[in-house]
């Protein structure tokens, strides 16, 4: 298996993201990319702006939920779709970075747009040098 990546797992009604990476920021970035994969194919749409992205120090589960909720929020309210994420740990235990976005009208809609993040079965942890998470999102 690649050192980083993501995939969608079966769930009867909604969508389950599994993501992994060599460190926590990489795992979180993969999870956000998986979230976007559920509903959009950006193709070669041009990036129009870069938005700040951060989560305060908290349990990793809460950091993950906070970031995914941010992606959902900007998609819905600003009408943009993030296509590239940059993220690093901060000294106080949070994460900070940015996301490059394209206009929603420039992407192909390929599935239902996620609207919320659930704590049901949520798991994020480091095992043998790999950070891995599973999270269910409501579509």
């Amino acid at each position: 298996m690649d050192t980083r990546g993501h995939r969608l797992l079966p769930h009867t009604a909604d969508a389950v993201i599994e993501a992994w990476g060599p460190d926590r920021p990489a795992c979180l970035v993969e999870a956000m990319e998986a979230l976007v994969d559920i509903f959009a194919e950006a193709g070669d749409a041009a990036v129009t702006r870069t938005l700040p992205l951060s989560a305060e120090a908290a349990a990793s589960a809460d950091v993950l939920v906070s970031l995914l909720e941010e992606v959902i929020y900007v998609t819905e309210v600003l009408g943009v779709v993030p296509v590239r994420f940059h993220l690093a740990d901060t000294e106080d235990g949070g994460v900070a970075g940015d996301m490059e976005v394209v206009e929603a009208g420039q992407v192909e809609l390929v599935g239902p747009v996620p609207k919320a993040v659930s704590y049901h079965g949520l798991d994020i942890a480091e095992h043998d040098g790999t950070w891995r998470c599973r999270v269910l999102v409501d579509v």
């Binding site: 239902p112 609207k115 919320a116 269910l136």
Partner: protein, 479 residues
């Protein structure tokens, strides 16, 4: 998140009813309504474990119920009903309502027969496709200014009807008259408000849809007549909810309750079951915010109704679409019920379950009271939908199913079905399709769902509700 190998044991407990005996931390048994056919599917996912988890909620009374369309949700199963005793420390759980607060269905009946729609069907579908916002960032029917949103959240559908986006009958035939009391706009975050500002009158995506349907079977002629339904009649079904605003309310209050549970002395087996006593600051705040979101949901369906009437008027020369009923299937309500011989105030959670009031219930409008509450059951895309009616004594605090219920993940459906093929197949069966995403269409393929005919038969055998009419689709607008 793979299905647990330890599936709770089900013991037959009457017609189409199964019992899970209390064990561990369960305060009440689980009661699952399902036929022999449906119960085999129920055993395949984690829904039964979720029925068991719900049975541990503080203050729960009678049982943790599952409707015949039950399937794996998050925290609560989808198709779950649970009531807690408010005076006995009973809790309210945002997860027991779901993210899409007041997601629900309304059915409009037209004066037209299906034959009259045959020629103009394509034009009407094009008009609906152009007028009804679907998918991502596609706009809204009712453009609001920021200062108008609080009034809409407090007043619900009457806010729009007062502005000419509906008629009086739209209110009397909507659950709660279109407005749930106790809305607390101050309990909504800025994020919830900003997500709601530009979505009043939008369908959304996922399993939400707008369908043109025809009544193809009458099961109960007397009730059908009382509901204004006749064979061959064209109807419009709208399935949508409170959009981003409702989801944000749920997310915000799950966060709040997760933080407060330790202090409140509440523990749950699944974090998405986060809850607080109804009679606590957190409980009251959630119920106030939930009522505001419910009013948004009803207003959203009202705005969509306005758009549908405009399309009918422009295409067919009539906007005489009467609201048969509008009912939510994701809601918690404070209701009086008799439990163990005593009337108690209960917080009844219906997560993917429809309230089904029996004949004579005082909460029904006078013209429906002799018959019972219409229960609207949308099928999967391209299959039948049903109108049922609440019966006495009913079950599960007067509740019934809310749809066909998924059996297959979106993931599996996409592997087996291609959106373009599905569209061709539906159109070959005379069903016109307009979809925001052709690829996304496949996720809602009929094979991903249970057999809705079997689900409603099971409801009837179990005494939850009775079939009145079956409707089949003529055209589908999908988000």
């Amino acid at each position: 998140m793979t299905p647990s190998p330890r599936v709770p044991s089900l013991v037959p407990d009457g017609p189409d009813r199964w019992r899970i005996e209390p064990s561990g931390d369960m305060r009440v048994p689980g009661l699952v309504y399902a036929s022999d056919v449906l119960v085999e599917g129920v055993r395949q996912d984690q829904a039964l474990n979720q029925v068991v988890n719900v049975a541990t909620l503080p203050g729960i009374v009678e049982a943790s119920y599952a409707m015949p369309d039950v399937h794996w949700g998050y925290g609560f199963p989808i198709g779950g009903v649970a009531a807690t005793d408010v005076e006995d420390g009973g809790v309210v759980s945002p997860g027991g309502v779901g993210f899409d607060i007041s997601c629900g269905v309304r059915l409009l009946v037209s004066p037209l027969d299906a034959e009259e729609l045959a020629a103009p069907l394509g034009s009407l579908m094009d008009a609906l496709d152009a007028r009804v916002p679907t998918g991502l960032g596609a706009g809204e029917v009712m453009h609001l200014h920021g200062e108008e949103l609080p009034a809409l959240l407090s007043q619900g559908s009457p806010y729009l009807v007062a502005r000419g986006l509906g008629v009086e009958g739209d209110l009397s035939h909507c659950e709660d008259g279109g407005v749930l009391g106790g809305a607390d706009v101050g309990a909504l975050s800025e994020r919830a408000m900003s997500r709601g500002l530009h979505q009043v009158g939008s369908l959304g995506s996922g399993n939400h849809f707008l369908e043109l349907q025809v009544v193809d079977q009458i099961h109960d002629a007397s009730a059908a007549t009382a509901f204004g339904l006749r064979h061959g009649q064209v109807c419009v079904m709208i399935h949508s909810g409170s959009r981003g605003l409702g989801h944000q309310v749920c997310s915000d209050h799950v966060h709040t309750m997760r933080s407060a549970m330790g202090r409140l002395g509440v523990a749950v087996p699944d974090p998405q079951l986060a809850c607080a006593p109804v009679d606590s600051a957190e409980g009251r705040s959630y119920l106030g915010a939930m009522a505001a979101a419910a009013n948004y949901g009803r207003a959203n369906r009202q705005a969509l109704t306005y758009a549908v009437r405009q399309c009918f008027a422009a295409t067919l020369g009539t906007d005489r679409l009467q609201l048969l009923y509008d009912v939510s299937h994701n809601l918690a309500k404070l209701e009086w019920h008799e439990v163990a011989g005593r009337r108690r105030l209960l917080c009844v959670h219906r997560k993917g379950a429809t309230r089904a009031l029996p004949p004579g219930h005082p909460d029904l409008p006078s013209d429906l009271r002799p018959v019972g509450q219409p229960v609207l059951v949308p099928g999967s895309m391209g299959t039948a939908s049903y109108v049922l009616v609440g019966t006495a004594p009913g079950g599960a605090f007067s509740s019934a199913c809310h749809g066909a219920g998924r059996t297959m993940s979106r993931h599996q459906a996409l592997r087996l079905v291609k959106g373009a093929e599905l569209r061709r197949d539906l159109e070959a069966h005379g069903i016109a399709v307009r979809a925001a995403s052709t690829k996304g269409l496949a996720e809602e393929a009929p094979l991903a769902y249970k057999d809705v005919d079997e689900v409603v038969r099971s409801c009837e055998r179990a005494g939850l509700a009775r079939r009145v009419a079956r409707l089949r689709p003529l055209g589908v607008v999908k988000g």
